[in-house]
């Protein structure tokens, strides 16, 4: 009897230790995979950042680690007039860069704000009232808005090229803002409709009883509650419009040119100056990378709206 208990104990022990080993192995596998993918995600950003501080020799020899492999320098930043030693001086490269950067900021914020205003109003109306326009009811009107999402930019690009030329809107920030608003409007309506549907109708009914009209109810009662959703929609729009290249490349040439177009047109007569390309790329990705780090939860909120019930 004593012997059997001992053997039992022994096998049990062996089993637990094997289980323990399996747990450790799976832990290692999980963290290994996590770290590997984190490197995949972060290395290109690291590469961009360090390349902006490399001289030509360091680039052609693929030096990776600053201060160990190569001596970092403000080379890339000097070429766009943003290094510590050039920041006080007059620099046409910096003026050019700042103009493009400002264009990108104005265009993306303008379009995102306009889309959030138009989209929130439409989404609120569709979630609260019943409309009828010709044969279209709420469901059809929603579909009409959301179906714009599948419209590829290339279908609109050439008609807009011709239309904007006639309207004298080619190469203007206003023209670009209008187009960008169109591209993100379905997404904003999608997010905001989901947001308004989660707010109980009793709230605006109470507001109506209190004598506020439908607009009063929207403005005083619903809007403050829906604000996080609007922020999420705004930030997601900002991501898409800041990075937009296709329309900007076709419809702008000098005045309204945005940062992505400037990045894409950096090839000089002697090939590419990688350090300045890297510095420009850094400025193109830095604002959104910061948003990603500090406002991650809004992006997640925006992306997952309506897809998870």
């Amino acid at each position: 009897m004593a012997i059997t208990t001992a053997t039992l104990d022994h096998t049990a022990l062996r089993r637990t230790s094997r289980l323990h080993l399996a747990t450790i192995a799976s832990r290692i596998a999980i963290y290994g995979a996590l770290i590997l993918w984190a490197i995949v995600c972060l290395f290109p950003i690291y590469w961009t950042l360090t390349t902006s501080a490399k001289s030509a020799v360091d680039i052609t020899q693929a030096h990776l680690i600053p201060w160990v492999n190569f001596q970092p320098d403000w080379k890339g930043w000097r070429s766009i007039g943003l290094s510590p030693d050039t920041i006080g001086t007059i620099s046409t490269a910096r003026d050019e860069f700042l103009a493009r950067f400002t264009n990108s900021v104005v265009t993306s914020i303008g379009a995102s704000a306009l889309a959030v205003v138009l989209g929130s109003l439409a989404a609120f109306g569709l979630s609260r009232f019943e409309y009828k326009f010709l044969w279209m009811r709420n469901k059809d009107i929603s579909f009409f808005f959301l179906s714009q999402l599948i419209l590829p930019p290339v279908v609109l690009a050439l008609p807009f090229l011709v239309l904007y030329r006639e309207l004298a809107l080619l190469d203007t920030t206003v023209g670009l803002i209008a187009l960008y608003t169109l591209t993100v409007l379905p997404i904003v309506i999608w997010i905001m409709r989901d947001q308004f549907n989660t707010i109980p109708r009793e709230l605006d009914e109470a507001a109506l009883v209190d004598g506020l009209g439908s607009w009063g109810a929207f403005w005083r009662v619903i809007l403050p509650i829906a604000l996080p959703g609007m922020v999420a929609a705004f930030i997601l729009s900002e991501v898409l419009t800041w990075n937009e290249y296709f329309f900007a490349a076709l419809l702008t040439s000098s005045d309204a040119k945005t940062l992505p177009v400037m990045v894409a047109s950096q090839t000089g007569s002697q090939g590419i100056n990688w350090w300045s390309m890297a510095a420009l790329s850094t400025t193109a990705i830095a604002p959104l990378a910061l948003i990603g780090i500090f406002l991650e939860r809004y992006i997640v909120k925006g992306l997952t709206a309506g897809s998870v019930k």
Binding site: I30, Y31, L34, W37, V40, C41, P44, I45, W47, T51, I59, T60, Q61, A62, L121, A122, G125, F129, Y131, K132, F133, F144, F145, Q148, I150, L151, P153, V154, V155, L156, A157, L158, P159, F160, L163, L167, L169, L185, S214, F218, W242, N243, Y245, F246, L259, A264, I272, W274, A278, S281, A284, L288, A289, G292, E296, I299, V300, S307, V308, K309
Partner: protein
């Protein structure tokens, strides 16, 4: 509560809420319409050369349209009171979408059937279905369309990777927040910057770190953009790198919303991790998966900027997408008429394809949900 807020003038109960200013509202809309039509007609006469005087460009007609939009909104409120105020919620977005998407698409159709090269002096000339015939004989276009099939199919691979990452992030791990932010970051990056810093710098065949890594793994001449299949794969890898976080976030939200009890019960019944995934997790995740894949496919069909910046469609059109092909058709040859026809044809294909896809997805979800 009266929910019969109606748009337009086709209300089933007209004048029910007619305010005292209904006449004023109608007058306003009529005057604004006259101004809009008048301006457009005036400029059309000028453009066609019938009259010698006119505006410098069509900008005044845009202002007339904006004015008309405002008048329509104010008119709605004046005519229909509260119902008009409710219509005002969707009116701006509806007018905007019609003016910016529907009108240009229809206008595009009128370009698609013409021979119009912006760099030639002959101007726009109607040429019937010549563009359509040329399209059917254009090998490069069909090649680009075939590439789109490959790119769209790769969405399934992106989905598999994203699912794996979502499962990793959903596991009991430390520093979850760090990994989640790190995994999300590629989604935030400008595809143009990615094409240059990854596609052209990191994948540089002489000294790029990717090339060095490949040499380390024993590929003696790692050129990423000379062989058609490898080039296609490289483009896809970059696009996947940017887009996987999007799919991953959707799937992660699905995993987190899933009830833990079902999984616990299955585990107590002795299900292995593998069985647990295929029998419980995967079927429960199907609705989210379908949404994620459908959205991803829709965005994939627009793929252009990475191709334009990294390979310009090369080698020999192997990496071309329809969008990048049409982009070059305009940029290099200024061929507006033919380019628009290509785009319109592509739009028809997309609409048909996405309709089938959504229908199939809907049936798939219904079949597994019951």
């Amino acid at each position: 509560m009266d929910d019969a807020a109606t748009l337009g003038t086709t209300s089933s109960r007209p004048r029910r809420q007619a305010g005292p200013y209904a006449g004023l509202g109608r007058g306003l809309i009529i005057v604004a319409s006259i101004i809009l039509v008048g301006c457009a007609g005036f400029e059309t006469l000028h453009e066609t050369g019938i009259t010698s005087f006119g505006f410098e460009n069509w900008r005044p007609i845009l202002y007339a349209f904006l004015l008309w939009g405002v008048a329509l909104g104010v008119g709605q409120v004046l005519i229909r009171g509260e119902a008009g105020k409710r219509a005002l919620f969707i009116l701006p977005a509806a007018l905007f979408t019609v003016a910016m998407a529907i009108f240009p698409t229809i206008f595009g159709l009128s370009i698609a059937f013409t021979d119009w090269n912006l760099s030639s002096t002959t101007g726009q000339r109607f040429n019937g279905i010549d563009n359509l015939v040329a399209l059917f004989h254009d090998g490069y276009f069909w090649n680009a369309l075939l590439n789109m099939v490959y790119y769209v199919l790769m969405v399934l691979v992106e989905y598999a990777i994203a699912f794996g990452l979502a499962l990793l992030l959903n596991a009991e791990i430390k520093a979850r927040k760090f990994f989640r932010v790190a995994f999300l970051l590629p989604f935030m990056l400008s595809p143009v910057a990615v094409s240059w810093m990854v596609g052209k710098s990191m994948m540089e065949y002489r000294y790029g770190p990717m090339a060095n890594l490949m040499r380390f793994f024993g590929w003696s001449s790692p050129s990423f953009f000379t062989n058609p299949w490898i080039a296609r794969f490289s483009i896809e890898a970059m696009d996947a790198w940017v887009a996987i976080p999007f799919v991953m976030i959707l799937l992660l939200a699905g995993l987190q919303a899933m009830s833990k009890e079902v999984q616990e019960a299955a585990r107590i019944d002795g299900a292995t991790g593998w069985q647990l995934f295929w029998r419980i997790t995967f079927p429960l995740m199907l609705p989210v998966s379908v949404t994620a894949i459908a959205l991803r496919v829709i965005f994939k069909l627009k793929l252009a900027d990475i191709v334009i910046n990294t390979t310009s469609g090369g080698p020999g059109g192997a990496t071309d997408t329809v969008s990048s092909f049409i982009y070059r058709e305009y940029r290099d040859r200024s061929n507006v008429g033919y380019g628009t026809m290509l785009a319109m044809f592509y739009l028809v294909i997309i609409v048909v394809f996405v309709t089938f896809l959504l229908d199939f997805a809907g049936r798939l979800v219904r079949r597994f949900a019951t």
